[in-house]
Point group: C2
Chain length 213, copies 2
Amino acid sequence: MKLKLPEITVYRLALYLRVLERLSREGRELVRSEELARLCGVSPAQLRKDLSFVGTFGVRGVGYQVRSLERELKRILGRDRIWHLALAGLNELGKALLAERRLQEKGFRFVAVFDWREEWIGKVIHEVYVYSLEQMPYLVKESEIEIGVITLAGEKAREMVQALSRSGIRAILNLGPEPLEAPRSDLIFRHADLTLSFDLVSFALSSGYGSVR
Amino acid sequence: MKLKLPEITVYRLALYLRVLERLSREGRELVRSEELARLCGVSPAQLRKDLSFVGTFGVRGVGYQVRSLERELKRILGRDRIWHLALAGLNELGKALLAERRLQEKGFRFVAVFDWREEWIGKVIHEVYVYSLEQMPYLVKESEIEIGVITLAGEKAREMVQALSRSGIRAILNLGPEPLEAPRSDLIFRHADLTLSFDLVSFALSSGYGSVR
DNA sequence: TGCTGTGAAAGTCTTCACAGCT
DNA sequence: AGCTGTGAAGACTTTCACAGCA
């Protein structure tokens, strides 16, 4: 339970799992570190070292069983269960997340949207009901919502962080364009901004950098 | 022009710029490394070291001029110009990107959508015209499109990579859920998958990890 | 005085290269 | 024979602590 691994390793384990899920769908039974690494854009040594942090899954001289490695990584990443999520504040990116079947399939299930605008409350977006902020504490508890997702920026984003925190949520994923300050240290708090990757591309293009990753 | 800095530093420079843009909007003139670092969730030494890779912008004993640091970082990141983008393949996430005013404001302008489905071709989504794949080589050249954005997965995603590459695009940003193989090494190629950050949160929750970043 | 810029030290991550097993 | 698992070496990144300057 108290597994301590580098954050970058966790990120890559999730990436390996993506590719394993695909190989598994395609019916592959066995994969070697060299191929899986190439598909993920990392070195074989990196892949084997990452796996060695969390267990020993391969067979020497043979490779890895796709299904069993997939199952083990799911367990390690906490992807062997259903998580209940709430979207705090509705915008286009938020709607895209609600519509994303792939997230549902992976066990990330949005069970509520919270918004402050009267005209949205009571509506149903991609099968998820929109509630007012007043209902948040009750619903977080009753629906066992553990992860709050924010796609907004600015003052509204900060209000949502406060509301989620006070409602007893366990984790907040900030997908908006600004870093926000964590309200409490016992709350898991991540910032992942899609739009930053546009800046990385623009830098690469204008600095004469080569291909990245 | 041949600036060689750690990728993680480029990422953080983009993050600093986000916060500077906000401070600038709020009318702040001066900021010290300690405050800017806190707002970005990094250490002051980190921030100063990152900046030292690309120049010297501060005044000792005083701090940084918000506007001039903002301008310098924009120049370094290639954000002092307009970039023309194409969306290759339309889905919910793609529509959300087209609608994202913040990207436009930052100089990332979608000028075309390409799709293989007859029923979409000729439509206009969030003011952007949908073209067929046949028109891609011509339009990439005529409209000076340098960055292709993909939000799809699977076989369609791989087809789009091929089509973009053959049309002479300079960079591809893969926002879909699977890593893809780069078609050529002279093409800038990035994978940034929002859905991976959900796995990181799920790991943090189930491993008893503390707050992250 | 006070905060930046930066060598040097500490810490972390990646790669190497081969032992260990099937 | 062949591929994984892993200590040890090497590369890279972060932090420290203070010189340098307004």
